[in-house]
Symmetry: C4
Subunit: 272 residues, 4 copies
């Protein structure tokens, strides 16, 4: 039974994983559908939701029972995620659906979305990616800091330029209003712009504002490709290193062998 639930090698374990995957996807689907107008109190969704909650409860109990160290599992990352997947259902019963508790209810139900995290457990490739992200964490912090500094400076600059220009040109001020109502708003604009998302809900409207904004976009864009290339370079090196780590010639110490290599490419000596 331990094999079926925790390992994916056996035939039964495979089917268990596929079933769980479908249950997770269905759960996400129902949680989302519940918020769509007209489906909020749909009976079928309630039934499906409860069926899934019971299913996940059985899975949780089984994992607890099968596990050699139940407490350690319960306190592990996956244990908490598994608990969060079922708790909201039972908490709803406790609180009841009295209208006064609606807000609390909503927040609790949000937790069900973490069921999507269960997907990770099934992906082998994800481990490699997590390792890659973990290795690149310093670069990501630097990247975020660069963006933060750039966002603060360009946001403040644009806020002053736009409000100043609207003050100078009294005619325009009457017709339209600056979208840059405050520095946080301007920083929101800078974030949305520098990441090239560009919603268009906050845009410069004065001529000077547009010129400075175009200059900032170009500058920001050419600055942002440097940390991006940085992270890419890190990934490429990491991949290279990973490949190298597995093998190294015991005779001539040459590195960079293919993972399937039997003989050293430089000295031709046999490798284990």
């Amino acid at each position: 039974m331990y094999d079926v639930i925790f390992e994916a090698d056996t035939h039964a374990g495979r089917w268990f994983d596929i079933g769980l995957l479908l249950a997770i996807l269905a759960s996400i689907f129902f949680v989302s559908l519940e918020t769509v107008d007209g489906y909020a109190d749909n009976d079928w969704i309630q039934v499906a939701e409860w069926a899934l909650t019971i299913l996940f409860t059985i899975e949780y109990v089984l994992r607890l029972v099968c596990s050699r160290r139940p407490l350690r599992y319960a306190l592990s990352f996956w244990g908490i995620i598994d608990l969060l997947s079922i708790a909201p259902g039972y908490l709803t019963l406790l609180i009841g659906s009295s209208s006064s508790a609606l807000l609390t209810l909503r927040s609790i139900r949000l937790l069900r979305v973490f069921r999507v995290m269960k997907l990770w457990r099934m992906m082998n490739e994800a481990n490699e990616l997590s390792t890659a992200i973990w290795r690149a964490r310093n670069k990501i912090v630097v990247f975020l800091s660069v963006v933060l500094v750039a966002v603060t400076i360009s946001g403040s600059l644009m806020y002053h330029v736009e409000t100043l220009m609207f003050n100078v040109d009294p005619e325009k001020k009457i017709n339209t209003e600056s979208d840059f109502t405050s520095i946080p708003q301007a920083m929101y604009w800078a974030t949305v712009t520098m990441t090239t998302v560009g919603y268009g809900d906050v845009v410069p409207k004065t001529v000077i504002g547009k010129i400075i904004s175009a200059a900032l976009i170009l500058l920001g864009y050419s600055l942002i490709i440097v940390p991006t290339g940085f992270v890419s370079a890190e990934m490429i090196n990491a991949k290279g290193t990973m490949a190298d780590d597995r093998t190294g010639c015991p005779i001539c110490e040459a590195t960079g062998h293919r993972s399937e290599a039997h003989y050293c490419y430089r000295c031709g000596s046999r490798m284990s």
Copy 2:
């Protein structure tokens, strides 16, 4: 005749390919133009459309006749694409243009767009690209899963934040409405945002919503460059391997040697 149609090496085969390319492009042009207001029932387009359908029919019949195994061709990927290119024209005749069948008609006509797939047959470089995409399929699945998980969590979070904030601030609720009407809508927003498309039809309107949204954008952006670098790294490694293919081992025919390799990594024999 087989040479002319299936091979591009001969002079006649070249011209056949160029003619086919022009016919495909013209076909796409007419299919598109048909939907533009005022061109829908244009006689010239109908004539051109029929001329192209007949041309593609001749091509299909010739391919069937020339092919050594007609059935195998008919059931192959290209055979089905070729059939889909001509079928809608004849099906339209069968159904007639009675107004009640308009919807079915429209769906059938959509199939003609697959003619554009015929372009692939002409591109040699495309094979290399298909191989590259095929090799990177695991990475793409991981990438899509990462985005899916991120979209689900950030979408749900933003939906709750925006609706909560609009509930808290009753004044704003009257003036405007939250764009985040449901979780699927919020997930649509998250998808559009994380891929940096940023239409701007769904945007956060509350202050807290904007702050969380800016944080999510930055986080999403810095997370997304990691899988992007991952895929790039995969492509670069793939290319390196492909380039090395030229120096194959003369004994065991193993490929993928490093450019400076003296000995085959598989059999250990000396290479020039």
Copy 3:
């Protein structure tokens, strides 16, 4: 004199280049300013425009005179660009500013914008970039073809989905209108979306349209990073090859030496 104009090595040549650069930038500035409301018939701009035209005329004549093969220069890429820089000024005189010829006039004046091409002549790095683009031309064609095929298919699909959904749901049809008025419009949407520009002037409005659109965006985004990585890989290889091309050990034929290498890193023999 030939040295001054065609070479940048001498002191005078340097100053000539800097002067020309400023003249080009000023010219672009005035051409742009002319179209801004209220500056159209500004006398100062007209004077500056004529001064620059005369300056560029002198430059053109000097280049013709100095050149060893005037005709060859006149018919070369740069010769034509230089001619296009001055021709519109004189053609305006010929046509006159009669209101009937305004449209022709406007088209001719557009040609002045090609003056910006003169910038290229001054950039050494640009040659390296041109070479890189030229080497990657096959990849770019493949990339554009992939995008074209994807744009055609997803555009057609979305057009049918959106118009169909608006037909099915009669209530919505009254309130709003689908942005997907025709297949070319839908292809415009697909282009704007797949390149992650995302203006937001054409957006899906039905629920099904949004779901399919989100799926297409994700698919498109994950497909587009493959050719992007492809081109990056090409650039990285090209750079590697360029560095390698300069040097190769005459004894052991090892490649990949640094450009400043005096000795082979493998066998230690002296390299020229």
Copy 4:
């Protein structure tokens, strides 16, 4: 005391740095909050602002006192940034809050945003990034020039196409107006589009305009990935060189050897 302030190695230096970091972040937070409606004249913010100004003044004085060469520090980059962090506070006192000086006041207060630059001093990784940006400066200039040329040409083209098409089609001209009111406006559009920001405040509205725009977007996008790959390649090469620095020649101390090098490329001496 010098150690505490200028070095981060000691225990006290660490805490000093963390305290300073929090002070900078709090300062940015208050400067931003001040511009939000309803918080402008909040007493608490004024108090916090003054507390931070006094804190930064103490830091500045301490640095001046501790520094071995006070004048050199005062005129250095960090000295000026540190001065700009405190000057606005005292200048505000000098000018007073008379309404006539409001504009000058606002400009002075903008300077406080440069406090965010202080963050850089704390980041070790940032040095590596600065070096990388500095190495790639030529590429960035080329990249910006390419974008500038592309922006100028495509902007001018679109301006003429859109205004011409609106002239040709008199019906449309009445209903809507072209967003391309001038060439600078069109260049703003081109910048926003080519960097894939895509606000959507300036969009083509005529059919021809949309077709040309879609073509320009595709062309621009496929051209822009080349310089992007270029910069990435530069970063990757730079990283490779940096990684190799560890294996320096024991004789001539040359750095940047390949990882498999047996002989120094400069002096030819054997390396372990």
